[in-house]
Symmetry: C2
Subunit: 277 residues, 2 copies
């Protein structure tokens, strides 16, 4: 019995694909900007460009939400803003607590886009007694002892961990025990949580290492003809562009620049070769 982990009800349900969910905030941001400029409608092409994705993907994404566009015309900006907000659950208020008010925690507390959209910083919590009472971003920091009380009284279900790595798991456990079911973790640790609790992590170090990997690859490639600035594709992830072929030359410039060439995010393995510093 315990073994059985064979079949899972699949993710069928009728849910929106995770990849799509991850892009909705992007669309929402682009739409909000259009809304502020009082633009009434957009085509999938325009909106896609603003969000940094391609239009086919955007249309497919929207198709999971419903048919909110008008053929031959495009999408109504205000209407879409509302629909996406609703889908993301932003039409309700989400009280959030930030634990660990160091440099990072303070930065998060001060981050504007935070409160602006459905999220409200309900409390700032730190383990340092010296911090207690100090105002950060207009909110008085409270001591960790109050954690459970704060969570319960405010009905907090989303917690942000910005503590040192060593304290993260313990803080996480307390948050979860107190009722938090979604955690955004900035500490460089893997958190263990019970089923049903979502954890997303943001890790500077990991992102840099991924960049370094691609950077290292670039070093071994030919600078090819600078094709000229093209609208960036945003995330490095995707494939992106066509790439080099074989190309033997070794133009490589003496300085450091030059690099701008084809093969962007694309892995397109080639000779590694170590680059100078």
């Amino acid at each position: 019995m315990a073994t059985g982990r064979n079949h899972r009800p699949a993710t069928r349900s009728r849910g929106i694909p995770e990849a799509t969910v991850a892009r909705l905030p992007l669309y929402l941001r682009a739409l909000t900007a259009l809304s502020e400029r009082s633009v009434p409608t957009v085509s999938s092409e325009e909106l896609a460009a603003a969000a940094g994705v391609n239009s086919a993907k955007l249309r497919k994404d929207f198709s999971y939400l419903g048919s909110y566009g008008t053929r031959g015309v495009g999408y109504d900006v205000e209407y879409l803003v509302y629909q996406i907000s609703r889908e993301l659950g932003l039409t309700q208020d989400w009280p959030v607590v930030i634990v660990g008010i160091g440099n990072l925690g303070a930065a998060l507390a001060n981050y504007g886009g935070f409160a602006s959209r459905g999220f409200r910083v309900a409390a700032l919590i730190d383990a340092d007694p010296a911090m207690a009472g100090k105002p950060v971003a207009g909110i008085a920091v409270q001591h960790t002892d109050e954690l459970e009380k704060i969570i319960e009284e405010n009905g907090v279900s989303i917690g942000v961990i910005a503590t040192p790595a060593g304290a993260a798991q313990q803080v996480c456990d307390r948050l979860v025990a107190a009722g938090v079911t979604s955690i955004l973790n900035f500490a460089p640790t893997v958190l263990s949580v019970p089923e049903g609790v979502d954890v997303r992590k943001v890790d500077l170090s990991i992102e840099l290492q991924i960049l370094a990997f691609h950077e290292q690859r670039k070093a071994g490639e030919e600078p090819a003809a600078a094709a000229g600035p093209v609208a960036g594709s945003g995330a490095a992830a995707g494939s992106g562009a066509a790439a080099v072929e074989a190309a033997a030359g070794a133009a490589r410039a003496g300085a450091r620049k030059a690099s701008a060439s084809a093969a962007s995010g694309g892995p397109e393995g080639d000779v590694p070769a170590v680059m100078p510093a």
Copy 2:
């Protein structure tokens, strides 16, 4: 010209899958911890647990790097640390500049795991003249005017943008023009870059919105879950939880505070309401 975007040489080549690359830093961190505890070898099962993934995935990932394990035994910790470090390009030194030394920039500059592995903060840059000369994390902040000079003199190829959204694209353009080919963007904007430049973004607001989406879903479901603590799976990504199915009650800790009910407002045609900035 410019049109042709027809065929892509496939991602065949020798490349390591992007998904695998993204996990290597995770493995490396777990391995480093083991190394510090002088653990000589690990099994895929153990290491996977420490990294928060499952063992099949880990073995598959490693298989792209080569055959670095020993059947019946496991992997040699030190050896793997070295191989992964090399694959990620961490055996060389990567000078990095951070632009925008506000709360967040300062937090990044102070972030330890930064310098610890291959990365070195070569300079801190800010547009505010009042910041110039001030030491942050032991490094004197320099003015934006010096940007190009700094990039060139230090051979910087990785830049971190921690400026307000409004300044990000401009800073990005200058970084790229000066020779930077990898950018880590913390500003909530889509950056446009020439081909060949990698951009990765870290966006608090987006992460929170993704959490809110899942949180909203949970609200409409049976409290079920709570099957007992299982190693956290890390990213919320996957289906996870499913919950559907029969689902036995058994809520663990009390205090479940059911934050807000699911489906808010009416599904169809409702007043859009303009979102705040």
